[in-house]
């Protein structure tokens, strides 16, 4: 397993290099002049030109790429064109918000989705099953921005039960920074007010983001459980005299969950992509809204930084899910 992990990590480096090449090329192929944009509307031609030299944009593309990659190795992701701050610092600021949002959304979608899937399968063809199937199908098909707007109107404007905008209430101090994840930080520092406020701010965005994944998990879990329930070893478990709950939640679920583990990795990538819309709707200060700003400003270093961060996250999450798979299924041995 160690050798396998090492090999997968080596492969991840290849993926990252490929990814960086593509992003670098595409972002530079977009028409537009970052130096012009960065130096402002009233800048003179020579000012723009000197900024261009300063930003290294006068060099040929391959050279620019090499300079960029050399920086990455030493942890330097370049300087943001619009804020003049190191991109690495900005990412450190925005990344925790996105991780908090997407992990929360993932937990909601996995827990609810798998539970609904099991109920649906066990009560096959009942009214509850039909309801859950429609519910999950709606989730899998409704666009994120539309659902987000509906939530805003209903829970904020009509009922006014949940806050929107940002990660924490105005006037409440964010918890002492340890991980950057407000929920964990406020638990660590014992700050009840911050914890309550950050959870309530997280509810709507994470449900918005997680609903469609939940639909996917429900449908997948339902079919997996149904398939497993007709297996011979389930009949054996029943013939032993086990209770139906143990048959379902121990013997069937442990097997049905295996394909879902892989799905978690894939859905996480989907969630990270979904943060762009969700964060914009809910003014969530994360990588999603950061990347929208970066793209509209042709902020190449920031775009590259975001892309590489998300790719790394995706590769790591999928490696973890593959390793979990081997732990959950004794038949899988990585060599």
């Amino acid at each position: 397993m160690v050798a396998y992990t090492a090999r997968r990590l080596m492969l991840a480096i290849v993926v990252l290099i490929g990814m960086s090449l593509m992003t670098f090329y595409i972002s530079h192929a977009i028409p537009g002049d970052p130096a012009r944009l960065a130096s402002g509307a009233h800048a003179k031609a020579e000012q723009v030109e000197s900024l261009r030299v300063q930003m290294g944009l006068d060099k040929p593309l391959p050279v620019q790429y090499m300079i960029y990659m050399k920086g990455i190795i030493s942890g330097d992701l370049g300087t943001s064109v619009s804020t003049r701050r190191p991109v690495a610092d900005e990412l450190k600021e925005y990344l925790p918000a996105t991780i908090e949002l997407s992990v929360f959304a993932l937990i909601i979608s996995v827990v609810a989705g798998v539970f609904f899937g099991i109920v649906s399968a066990v009560r096959r063809n009942s009214a509850l099953d039909h309801f859950l199937r429609v519910f999950s199908l709606v989730g899998a098909s409704i666009p994120v921005f539309w659902l987000g707007l509906l939530f805003l109107i209903f829970f904020y404007k009509q009922l006014n039960v949940l806050p929107i905008g940002g990660r924490i209430g105005i006037g409440i101090n964010p918890p002492t920074k340890a991980t950057g994840l407000y929920i964990i930080d406020s638990i660590l520092s014992g700050d009840g007010i911050a914890l309550k406020s950050s959870i309530s701010h997280l509810v709507l965005p994470s449900i918005t983001l997680g609903y469609s994944s939940m639909g996917v998990f429900t449908r997948m879990a339902r079919s997996c459980v149904l398939e497993v329930l007709s297996a011979d070893y389930i009949r054996t478990a029943r013939a032993k005299g086990l209770k139906e709950t143990i048959v379902v939640y121990k013997h069937a679920l442990r097997n049905a969950i295996l394909p879902l583990i892989t799905l978690v990795g894939l859905q996480f990538a989907y969630l990270l992509g979904g943060t762009v819309l969700t964060e914009t709707i809910f003014s969530w200060p994360g990588l999603g809204s950061y990347s929208v700003t970066a793209i509209t400003n042709l902020n190449f270093p920031a775009i590259m930084g975001v892309t590489l961060t998300i790719t790394t996250l995706f590769v790591v999450i999928n490696l973890i899910t593959d390793l979990c798979y081997a732990i959950a299924d004794p038949r899988i041995v990585y060599k």
Binding site: K240, R254, D329, P330
Partner: protein, 326 residues
Amino acid sequence: MEEVILEIKDLKTYFYSDKSVVPAVNGIDLLVRKGETLGIVGESGCGKSVTCLSILRLIPDPPGKIVGGQILFKGEDLLAKTEAEMRAVRGNSISMIFQEPMTSLNPVFTVGDQLSEAIRLHQGVAKKEAKQKAIDMLKQVGVPAPEQRAREYPHQLSGGMRQRVMIAMAISCNPDLLLADEPTTALDVTIQAQILEMMRDLKDRLGMAIILITHDMGVVAEMADQILVMYAGKAVECATVKTIYKNPMHPYTVGLLDSIPRMDVDVEKLHVIEGVLPDLSNMPEACCFEPRCPDARSICSQKEPDLEQVGDSLVRCWKYCPEWRQ
């Protein structure tokens, strides 16, 4: 006479679909005494397995349902028991082994865990004690290095070893009755002989009764005391092994016996019973074997014969009724 362990009276198990009703078991009677082995034979789809699953009330519902009859286990009607009472019977006083050892064990739990699960459930012993008992059971069924095997997963074991594990699981709570549904069909012949030998040995030692389902006439000859021949959900002949082999009465039984390959007789082709099992959902009011029967006469297609005592056997055939000569 030994005490009666199981008596089934007029058992009917039907399967329902949108379009039709399939009477998979249609009025079976049988009786098993302590320490006795009853062999149920018949071709695929004749209702052998459904009979066994009905005893444990493990018929998947829907589509299946036990619609009539009585299953008296030591005098108590299993069909009248609640689900919780039934669970106390399953794996405890009646247990079952299945045809497919490759898929009948849960792939994600160790052999030891799966064995000790039933022991803990029915005997209420501590985890450690159950583990030890599981290892003892593996030793009893002839699994080499049982301590190590108990820590392994089913995929690390061969088919024969897995069937031994299934048998160990089935006998771990000293059942009064073991239902063996084609326990050796999926195994190769040498392993088959070993497993049968072991089952016979266990039966003698533990004094349990066995219902052995098979379509292999050779296996029943070796194992069974009584034989029940089933066809299309009904019993067509029932007698002791000796009687059936010496004097088979029903044409279907005769056909089954003729289909056994023999070394001492030189034949060009194996005997086959022509035709296929009739469509159970659309059965005529006649002898169900009539379309395939070499001896059929007009009466066979008009009325269904009853199961009647003829000599030492119970037979369902017009041949042995007075109407036959008319």
